[in-house]
């Protein structure tokens, strides 16, 4: 019964969070964004004390069901573990808690959180690790499927699926995500929740509370026939059938052991008369590795193909844009400043997933590794869009409205004379001025090589830094006008 409830709840959370990360929102993303906001670390970083108290209270009452039901990385490991058990039954065994490892990892994590050293915190945060895996590894596959469906339905004048661009947003992030996926998948396949009870900082924190939880799995040694099935099926290695103990610090209340025990020796009940307990891992499929490898190859091939522009008939070749070097990174409206973003962001990639304009991507800068930055080679920050601010669970990007967005100046445009088309080839242009949504650019006459040409001048006070000018500038590969971030976003 416990197991069934746990699986049902986990399935709901897991499906919803995957929808968020895959961008399958059907326009309801703001209604399902709560699954990201009940995640522990995001709530901590968002200083959402109420949510933290609820999560701690739940743990004090029911044990670490958070790890079984809410944490998507945990559920992902359960799926691998389930597949592992299909391959070989009763494969787990008890092991003592490695406290020194858990606490030292947690100490490092907290230290990095305090000093704001993001690479470590983002790497260890479980929810973010999962977000990266979906965003980097599965999202391209989903997009490929989406584009296939779109191509198919376009023959029938149907407009359910809209094409999306497939492109590699960050090689580093992709590699990290892929490695995380492979390593965790392998560990979960073999040993269940190893990561959760050794490395995961959230797991360690919740362990403090679950040690004292009211409801626990307990073993009634008087009924135990020493069959050891519970121990062999406990994915957290928390059950020691010989001594009849269930380590409440590591037990994630999955309920597997309750179902496995044929002698009714294990119970999930309030701690009144102490007993011991067992567990057993759960869930789904593997055989995925081959599939995934293939998929990754297919994806990168698709990404490569995308960069090579199709050449049919009379179309000019368009050189791909390259990102300019920005002294100050441009961060999304609502993030207040690069500093604020850096302090709150767990690099879960939800905003990157949510960005429909191909603007956000994970940073490759080691100090902001995998945290979102903006760049405008493929699109610009459209005025009607506030999606990243709506989905961010950590307060790194705070919720803003469309109207508020018009008053947030995330950066300012900078003109580079030698790239500018009227200067370089004499064509009349003015694209930047014509498209500027803030009317921050004017065309003025300037003498270049003895010829009068019209060139843009930027009013930095008006410029909001949306990147439309940079994106639509005809100069390639480097735009003649690009956005420099504002250290702290200007408001007016």
């Amino acid at each position: 019964m416990l197991r069934k409830i746990r699986i049902t709840l986990a399935a709901v959370c897991f499906v919803l969070i995957n929808m968020l990360f895959l961008g399958i929102s059907w326009g309801i993303s703001q209604h399902i964004a709560w699954v990201a906001k009940i995640q522990f670390l995001p709530a901590l970083l968002a200083l959402d004390y109420a949510m933290l108290l609820v999560l701690i209270a739940v743990t004090l009452l029911f044990g670490r069901i958070y790890c079984s039901v809410i944490c998507p990385l945990g559920i992902m490991q359960d799926i691998f573990g389930w597949a592992g058990k299909k391959a070989k039954k009763n494969r787990y065994s008890h092991s003592p808690e490695k406290k020194w490892l858990r606490y030292s990892v947690l100490a490092v994590f907290i230290l990095c959180l305090i000093i704001g050293f993001a690479p470590v915190t983002t790497l260890l945060a479980p929810y973010s690790a999962y977000g990266r895996i979906v965003n980097s590894v599965f999202r391209p596959l989903y997009d490929l499927l989406n584009n296939g469906l779109a191509a198919f339905e376009s023959r029938y004048d149907s407009y359910v699926f809209s094409e999306v661009q497939l492109w590699m947003r960050s090689v580093t992030t992709f590699m990290i995500a892929l490695l995380t996926f492979i390593i965790l998948g392998f560990l979960a396949w073999r040993n269940g929740r190893t990561y959760c009870n050794t490395v995961c900082p959230v797991g360690t924190i919740l362990s403090f509370f679950s040690r004292f939880s009211l409801m626990r799995v307990q073993m009634d040694k008087s009924r135990c026939k020493n069959c050891s099935l519970c121990e062999k099926n406990c994915k957290t290695a928390a059950i020691d059938y010989k001594s009849g103990t269930v380590d409440a610090a590591r037990c994630i209340t999955c309920g597997d052991c309750l179902d496995k025990c044929k002698f009714d020796a294990l119970h999930y009940k309030p701690v009144l008369h102490l007993h011991k307990s067992t567990q057993d891992p759960a869930e789904p499929d593997l055989n995925k590795r081959a599939f995934l490898t293939g998929a990754v190859l297919a994806t990168s091939a698709a990404v490569m193909a995308e960069t090579r522009i199709k050449m049919d008939g009379g179309l000019a070749v368009i050189e791909d844009k390259q990102a300019p070097h920005r002294e100050t990174p441009v961060t999304p409206p609502g993030s207040v400043s690069a500093y604020n973003l850096n302090r709150h962001c767990t690099a879960c990639q939800l905003c990157v997933s949510a960005c429909p304009n191909n603007v956000l991507r994970p940073s490759a800068d080691p100090l902001h590794l995998m945290q979102p930055v903006m760049s405008f080679e493929r699109g610009y920050c459209r005025p009607e869009c506030t999606r990243c601010s709506q989905v961010c669970p950590t307060g790194a990007i705070r919720p803003i409205t469309k109207e508020e967005k018009t008053a947030i100046h995330i950066g300012h445009a900078v003109w580079i004379e030698q790239n500018c088309i009227p200067v370089s080839n004499g064509d009349h242009c003015g694209a930047c001025a014509r498209h500027c949504p803030a009317w921050a650019i004017q065309m003025v006459e300037k003498e270049v090589n003895g010829k009068l040409v019209e060139v843009p001048v930027v009013d930095s006070e008006k410029c909001v830094g949306c990147g439309k000018c940079e994106n639509l500038c005809p100069a390639r590969p480097f735009s003649a006008i690009y956005v420099e971030g504002n250290k702290m976003h200007h408001l007016n």
Binding site: G314, L315, A316, G379, E384, D427, P474
Partner: protein, 477 residues
């Protein structure tokens, strides 16, 4: 000649229309814009009356003439080869058909006939004269023009001869309206005002015409106009300072020209501005091109559908006539009719005029905006413009746009679920048809394509227009 003496033609003012409904005398019941309330000195407010047949009449404040709101333009007369003189230029005019239409028009209250020495290759006045002379001269008003466009005719003698010839062809010894033809247009390298001076001032022609008016051979002296508001103001300045008195002006007015004249023809001006200038001075406005040469009667299905939806009683032509006739400063709406059916329908529309309500006026001006935003682009996909140096796929952009126009899936005015569906179809379809880096927003306006287009499409302008539409749809969440 003997019958057409001065007494009679001054009597024509009232006798031409047998029944006057005094209830409508002040124009208030039919006043579409509440002019009656805000009318001030100088503001034009013409009384609406009806004939026995129900045709709406407007009273010329200068002469008291009760003029039918529908005026018969004699420039597209039917010809023997079929169609109008515009369709078959070399075919002689079908006088029988003209007579029949003129008789019908007079019978149903139409009493203003407008011609020119140049219409129908110079044969319009003669034909008009033949048809009208079969009726008492006091039962109708004649309007013709002094069409001395060619510099050969700029001398006083030539121009005088032109006027005398008009009277002869029209078989009359006076005209009710004489219009200097096509002011605001320029000749050779001259400016608008230079041309005007050459044609009418320097040669003393205008002074002579004023003299003719004093003699009763011209009852109203005015002009027809194609030009900018500045040029109009320059001409009206002569009126303001009292140098000349303009009794009427003929301008192009319809719901497209009201605010989008430049988009039809760069030389034209928004009728809204021209009308306001004339109305301010109390100069009666004659309207030409109420249907833009028939274009407004023949709308794309999507537009026609919306018109019928708004009020199924009115055809696209009827909507256009209602718009042109609604402003109270309009004396008469001239329509060049070739077919009896058109004449009948137009008479019906104005018998009586159902003026546009302010809601309807706003709606039709919104529709006009859509017509411009949604007009198909005459691209034939010849690819002469390609490759665009900045990578745009010009023919593909136009093809997607035209496809959407034809399907009626773009309309900026509508909201609701259908709008949402259409919006999605347009935007998603756009991305499918043209990769985003080749879309209209990447046009920089280098203008290289313009001279390459055999259809003379102003490609950069259309790109801006299409992109504006895309932007608007994207921002309408």
């Amino acid at each position: 000649m003997d019958r057409r003496d001065f007494i009679k033609h001054s009597a024509a003012a009232v006798a031409g229309t047998s029944v006057i409904l005094s209830a409508c005398r002040n124009g208030k019941p039919n006043d579409p814009y509440g002019e009656a309330d805000r009318s001030t000195a100088g503001r034009l407010e013409m009384a609406n009356d009806l004939t026995a047949n129900g045709m709406t009449l407007r009273t010329n404040p200068n002469t008291g003439d009760k003029v039918s709101l529908l005026g018969f333009g004699m420039m597209r007369l039917p010809v023997q080869a079929g169609g109008s003189a515009r369709d078959n230029q070399d075919s002689p005019i079908d006088q029988e058909a003209v007579n029949e239409m003129v008789d019908y028009a007079l019978e149903h209250g139409v009493n203003l006939f407008d011609t020119s020495p140049v219409y129908c290759q110079g044969l319009s006045e003669q034909s008009t004269g033949i048809a009208l002379s079969r009726h008492p001269r006091n039962s109708y008003f004649i309007s013709t023009k002094l069409s001395n466009f060619s510099s050969d005719t700029w001398s006083l003698a030539e121009s005088k001869a032109m006027f005398e010839h008009s009277l002869q062809e029209l078989q009359t010894d006076y005209v009710d309206y004489l219009l200097m033809h096509g002011l605001g247009m320029r000749s050779g390298g001259m400016s608008v005002m230079e041309t005007f001076h050459k044609r009418y001032i320097e040669n003393g022609l205008l002074d002579w015409l004023v003299g003719q008016k004093a003699q009763g051979r011209i009852r109203n002296l005015g002009f027809s106009f194609h030009g900018s508001p500045e040029d109009l103001n320059a001409i009206l300045a002569l009126h303001d300072v009292g140098r000349y008195h303009w009794d009427c002006a003929l301008i192009q007015l319809n719901y497209l020209d009201w605010r989008h004249a430049k988009e039809i023809n760069k030389r034209n001006s928004n009728a809204e501005l021209l009308y306001a200038e004339l109305e301010k001075r109390g100069i009666p406005v004659l309207v030409m091109e109420p249907l833009l040469g028939g274009r407004l009667a023949n709308q794309p299905d999507a537009i026609a559908h919306r018109m019928r939806e708004k009020d199924s009683r009115f055809s696209p032509a009827a909507w256009a006539f209602r718009f042109a006739g609604s402003p109270s400063g309009v004396l008469s709406v001239l329509s060049g009719m070739s077919y009896m059916e058109h004449l009948r329908e137009n008479i019906r529309t104005y018998s009586p005029l159902v003026p546009l309500t302010s809601d309807e006026e706003e709606w039709i001006l919104g529709l006009a905006k859509d017509i411009f935003e949604l007009k198909a682009i005459p691209c034939t996909t010849c690819n002469y413009c390609m490759p665009c140096p900045y990578g745009l796929n010009i023919p593909a952009i136009f093809a997607h746009y035209n496809k959407s126009v034809a399907a009626g899936t773009i309309s900026s005015a509508d909201k609701g679920s259908e709008f949402q569906r259409n919006r999605r179809a347009f935007l998603v379809g756009y991305d499918r048809a043209v990769p985003s880096i080749r879309q209209a927003d990447h046009c920089i306006g280098c203008d290289r394509c313009i001279r390459l287009c055999p259809q003379h499409i102003d490609i950069p302008h259309e790109m801006v227009r299409i992109n504006r539409l895309v932007e608007k749809l994207k921002q309408t969440l």
